[in-house]
Symmetry: C2
Subunit: 168 residues, 2 copies
Amino acid sequence: MKSLRIEPLAGYTPTIGRLVCVLAYARQTLLAAVEGLSREDLDHLHDARSNSIGALLAHAAAVERWYQALTFEDRELSASEAATWSAALELGDEGRRQLRGREPHSYVDELAGTRKVTLAALAKRDDAWLERPLAAAPELNAHWAWFHVAEDEINHRGQIRWLRARLH
Amino acid sequence: MKSLRIEPLAGYTPTIGRLVCVLAYARQTLLAAVEGLSREDLDHLHDARSNSIGALLAHAAAVERWYQALTFEDRELSASEAATWSAALELGDEGRRQLRGREPHSYVDELAGTRKVTLAALAKRDDAWLERPLAAAPELNAHWAWFHVAEDEINHRGQIRWLRARLH
């Protein structure tokens, strides 16, 4: 069951705990939005410019990895990471070409593995860190960065719901 | 310019200030997503089951009013309020019928007027209130309720961006 509270959580400093509630809620609703979809459903392109639902799931995992580097390692993606993740980060033509043919569980597993790393890293940090500007991007603080991960996921969840309603 | 920080804000208790950053960011990006659209654009229906972009803007204002009643007045909408807002809250056929023909500024003005009420009420409350379960819906706390207002707006902003990219 989805938690409808935002509050401190055991294992995290108070404001990080509230943020983890937000991240968890966004993720639960994303997974609910794709539950039961087949590989064909995940690969389906609504029109020539649409991203598939599968590509949007790969995008969510790639955005989270990008923000892991930015906030936990104080760096941008390396050239080889950027090459690996560019189709999922940028979507569009490359996304339509590369992000298809995967089994449904592979998207969910990738999201779960990525989230595990995020939560372990957040558990080691504190609220002062969360508010500090990022060394690799001083116009943002870590709290905004992690809110943005949830926000981007929610934005695309809205598109996924719209696309799913028109699948069959 | 959009603020890329989440942090306490003057005039609000610390956690409410961080929440206001989230609400403001969601709203700025919603307004940016519809900037420059004409009345015809706002009324356009992509397909027979789509909501217009204008209807999604009316929805955002209606959801915010609903959560004002729930969190600031500890009550559900009255029957007459529910009747007034039902097309915007529920969208679908009634939304397609009722929510059209409005001037673009009327949506923006409605959102701004609604937000003004929200911010004035949040400025009078504190972080203990924010975390407390709602009297009218004890499974939620006020923090989740107001996060959800932003979250629903971000979800539909994702749809608005998708719809806008296919307008002409």
